[in-house]
Amino acid sequence: MRVTEQIDALEVMGVNSINYLVFPKIIAMMMYPFAVAIAMYVGILGGWVAAVFGEFAPSAEFTKGLQIDFIPFHVTYAMIKTLVFAFVIATVPSFHGYYMKGGALEVGKAATTSFVWTSVVIIILNYTLTQLLLG
């Protein structure tokens, strides 16, 4: 959008381009915990289906096994990490895309840079959050 002057077009129209382009991404990513909750549910359901229908364990034993090591705070911990990572995924690439300069070649470079920085920031935050919340 930067290269093809679409962002300039928004600005000229009087649209706050950062607000218009980046804010919805952040809001959408803040919905990520719901996706993670569904993934958790489907993962456990898949384990139950495999255990019961594969005749590895009866349903009651599977449920009991799940509950033995269950720590409720781990769900909170997962949701906190999800929210933080979602914010990083929404903002770091948006920053690199919004402020890039040049042509098609620079778009490719900006995409690579944003991928690298997103990964680096997530790795650092993953370590930091784990130390802070579980350390």
Partner: protein, 255 residues
Amino acid sequence: MIEVDNIHKSFGEFHVLKGISTTFEQGKTNLIIGQSGSGKTVFLKCLLGLFEPEEGSIIYDGDRYADLNKADRRELRQNMGMVFQGSALFDSLTVEGNVTFPLEMFTNQSKGEMKDRVDAVLERVNLIDAHKKFPAEISGGMQKRVAIARAIVMNPNFLFCDEPNSGLDPKTAILIDNLIQEITQEYNITTVINTHDMNSVMEIGQKILFLKDGLKAWEGTNKEIFKTDNQAVTDFVYSSELFKKVRQMYIEERN
């Protein structure tokens, strides 16, 4: 009307605009010409409010831009239409979606009212059957016409065009020029066009501003440009053999 008074703009140590003063009149097609690097695009971006000059002032219909607060500036921008060099259409939206976009953002019109307005402006730019097409599915000339439709859909007082006929064949370029001139007169808009195209200069240049090295080197009309002895203008405008001959014929005709 836009009044520009002694504007300066620099990027670091590079002084791009070195004190330009001029007036762009309402209902006229005002052209900015000059060599690459002369400061045309920076000047146009200053007029659009995308760059803020370090010195000098720009007055839009009596409102000095520097004195306006953020909300007033935003309101002023809603009164401006811009046709970008590459059209700058939103490629994820259809032609209709692109033209409707400013109405959706800034008006409380009903869907029916918006549709009527969009149909009217698309008809005005002679695009009747392209409503549902995406920008990638239409030609460069059609994209320019969609960009013009999007620029005028809010009934702006100011229309800015950055090289509106670059990349178009000569016939389509003339159609776009004529369309811009007709719209300017029909809606009584202050139109400022940044161009390299000498055909545009001769055809629709009701006022021409020639920039050289960030300074106003000459201004006049398309009639006066034939008569001027300004060396910088003649070197630029009559650099091709064709235009040299046209000028010669004009001078001989007058004598």
